[in-house]
Symmetry: C2
């Protein structure tokens, strides 16, 4: 494939006239070819209306057709795996192994939604038969199904150039729901974005789906993104990135003539709590695993463990963690901007008077800052709400707590999180029960004796959580439940079978699971 | 029961020191005893924190206990049926038969959620077993369930003093989900609100549930309501009322430190479309049914049919509708303020140059304005977006369309609606198919050859729809699906059986329906 440096609007490569930008190799400090032309607001308008024009035809495809479409995107992405790895590693500083794994994950996500479509539970069919003899008034025949909300605007994440970008989880779930998608590409991996976008456009052409089902828009800065979020044809927004970016989209969505839902996955420090038993067993493995999880991919995961609670009595652990950190080596971050934000976050913790218990080594490449771990007490934590602000990258805070009451006071003040983790042994069970009751109200996923990095893509995953982890705690952005973000219920009252949409027809031609007169049919 | 004129905060009658107000009999123009004391912001604060303090104990009750609690509220309300009818008819101007029916509906809603709790589908259980041998990394054990979001603030509707007020659908679904509730009573039926609130408080005491599970706050004006919506302990808002009131709560919720979901059911004109066959069969019955649906309960239903599309060729229908309207008689509206708003809405339609095709008769009681129907053409409709503004009460617009293209142009511009209705015969099928595709994107419920008033409370009902019908099109406020508004998903990773919450334990002690390794278990 050739990277043309152009937006893809309803299947056509479009040269935008709003200036140019180039991707940047953060490890080498070099700008990459080719130039990318930036879309104008008119281009955004064209993409959004094309999505709207395609909506009825696309949403009326059968689940089997949409499943085949998702599968064909997966196959096409896998077919250019080497090309994607070559480009994405240059654009992101991530390793070839990581990008390779992420391609597999991306294909896996598309296939998960394909299988979900074939199962059909997401259509939420409920049928209630009428009763003309009911007193005092007849009971009407009612049939409920979930339908797609309409065109979705998706903002790719910088830290997952495949799995949460152009053909990532948001796109896969929106396509599965029956929604056309307009992706605003993340400028830091524009070439990767275009390579993947070309595959989606080709899969659409192959399947004979309406071309407006997918568009990919390039533009640095926020103008293009805000225009897309504000566009009347757009009915939902999915975003992964900073709290600033997410809250800005939330404000735009709320101020529209027709407000729309925003699914922004933003900020999380992912606390890990070591209970007494957890802290004192397999200590060396646990310390090493902590540092490995913290520094994995230069700490650039939404589920990076940025906060570790340890019992005061085991404060010798701090030294062990310090040693492990000191021998860790920085890896290139995704961009110079992200590296600067990391440095400034670390500087901010110093300014608050915190002590760095250890600093790792600078990486050999550019933009590869040293992993850094700070120490604080539970009292420090309670006194300083700023300690809850995420420093994106390999930085963590180790917090010592005196007793259970101290720990619980800290957990009670926690902001919303994507994950919360507890390490324990059987002797800790009473305290684990108690803090689990708190943690489940604070996080979308609670983890026992593991690490938050490594998000399984499956039916029972929740990658979500209370604000500010996400803008909408009722959902997940990973796993098959994510499809519900892009659906709304409609009830059909009193229609004859021939006029009903297939999913709610009495004869159940799509063989969907359904609730009939209140009872699950299978 | 004695109406004390006091808020009920965590089971205690509380005299508020922020002034007083009294209910008003809109039919007689008289203020009613007793005086109600208005809550202070400190009272709101106490109620919200009491709800938060009760949250863990209340949400950890079994589904069976919560079901029994809902049932006992129903029984208690039915036990004081006559007292409620006496007070509510005075406060609202609604008939005794209507209030009586609404009590039954309210009890039925509570019982629907009780039965939903016992079925357990709402818990959304998904289990995925781990696989320690999976390559390249082991698969973790993951278990997902829906948990309640936290304390909910509920704003009762003036037009359903029972079914969408203190113990109405919002309260029933929030209680079912496991959320404590703080109700801001609607001041126009304060006595009814207190009678019902006393029953809920008594049911809580009987069941030994934490007293903060329910509070009822009185206060005229918006100060108390806004303080409640802004309170940090409140995690969701449900509201039924005007678009102004709903959007004001949306703005408050969005500007909180932690934004929260708002479920506001606001404004709908509920278009009814007569296709050629529909307009020319059973015409007299249809005309009479239209006027009956329009004037039922003085037109004060969210699903009141405020817009009727008829073919230009059948414009003689206008005369028939006119005759039926002329013989209709106004009924007392809920309050003097609502009657004034009706008059001003009707005046606004006159000012737009529309012609009233018929005006009914003034009622004999106070605040009983004459039903009024206006005529307009499809072209008028397309040229005047103001014609889409709801006039709450017995006012409607009959719109004549020349041809299918005209009709479709009108439907395409429709704002979000709670309902949309089509009347047709078999010969209209092609056009019905075409417009159904439009209507399902505009409304939460589409109705064939019926009337939108009369909302079935059941599993397959959707009482929702795109903005401005509601603030959140992904939900319904009537029917068992409404429970999902107050839940969020949590995943548990790697916990031993003994520490898992019962609903996700492998042994399934609550016998819940669940998806295990992707497959529905029953």
């Amino acid at each position: 494939m050739t990277i043309a440096g152009k937006s893809i609007i309803a299947g056509m490569p479009i040269h935008g006239s709003a200036g140019v930008f180039r991707s940047y190799n953060p490890a080498k400090g070099e700008y990459l070819e080719p130039e990318f032309s930036q879309a104008t607001e008119a281009d955004v308008d064209a993409a959004a209306w094309a999505a709207q024009s395609s909506f009825d035809a696309y949403r009326s495809t059968t689940p089997a057709i949409r499943a085949a479409f998702l599968e064909s995107i997966a196959v096409r992405i896998e077919a250019i795996r080497e090309e994607i790895v070559a480009r994405a590693t240059e654009e992101t500083g991530l390793t070839a192994a990581r990008i390779d794994g992420e391609i597999s994950r991306t294909a896996g996500q598309l296939r998960l939604f394909a299988s979900e479509l074939l199962l059909g539970e997401h259509q939420g069919i409920r049928i209630e038969h009428g009763d003309p003899d009911r007193m005092p008034v007849p009971r009407p025949d009612l049939r409920l199904r979930m339908i797609p909300v309409g065109p979705v605007a998706i903002f790719g994440a910088s830290n997952f150039p495949l799995a949460f970008s152009v053909a990532g989880g948001d796109t896969a779930s929106a396509f599965a729901a029956g929604c056309p998608v307009v992706v605003k590409a993340h400028s830091s991996h524009a070439g990767t974005a275009e390579l993947v976008g070309q595959q989606i456009a080709a899969a659409i052409a192959d399947a004979g789906l309406p071309t407006g089902t997918f568009s990919l828009i390039f533009g640095a800065g926020r103008v293009v993104g805000q225009a897309l979020a504000a566009h009347p044809a757009i009915k939902a927004i999915a975003f992964t990135g900073s709290q600033g970016g997410g809250t800005s989209l939330m404000a735009t969505a709320a101020s529209r003539t027709e407000p729309i839902p925003v699914y922004a996955e933003m900020s999380s420090i992912n606390p890990v709590i070591w209970c007494q038993g957890g802290a004192t067993t397999h200590t060396e493995d646990r310390v090493n695993a902590f540092v490995a999880s913290l520094t994995l991919g230069s700490g650039q995961f939404c589920t990076n463990p940025g906060m570790l609670f340890i019992p005061d009595s085991e404060s010798s652990l701090i030294e062990k963690i310090g040693s492990a950190i000191e021998s860790s080596v920085g890896q290139t971050m995704l961009s110079a901007g992200i590296k600067e934000a990391f440095d400034s976050g670390v500087a901010g913790l110093h300014e608050l008077g915190l002590q760095a218990i250890a600093v790792g080594q600078l990486g050999e490449t550019l933009n590869a800052p040293a992993p850094t771990v700070f120490a604080a007490t539970a009292q420090d934590f309670l006194a300083n709400p700023q300690l809850q602000e995420e420093v994106f990258g390999s930085a963590a805070l180790v917090i010592t707590y005196d007793n259970t009451a101290d720990l619980i006071a800290c957990l009670d003040t926690l902001q919303g999180q994507l994950t919360a983790t507890v390490h324990f042994t059987e002797s800790d069970s009473p305290i684990v029960s108690e803090i689990l009751t708190i943690l489940e109200t604070k996080a979308g996923r609670v983890i026992a004796n593991g690490w938050p990095t490594g998000v399984e893509v499956s039916h029972a995953m929740v990658h979500g959580g209370p604000y500010p982890a996400t803008s909408d705690t009722r959902t997940t952005s990973v796993g098959s439940l994510a499809i519900h973000r892009f659906q709304r219920p409609v009830a059909y009252q009193g229609f004859p079978e021939a006029l009903l949409p297939e999913p709610v027809q009495e004869s159940n031609p799509l063989d969907l699971p359904r609730r009939v007169d209140g009872v699950l049919e299978r």
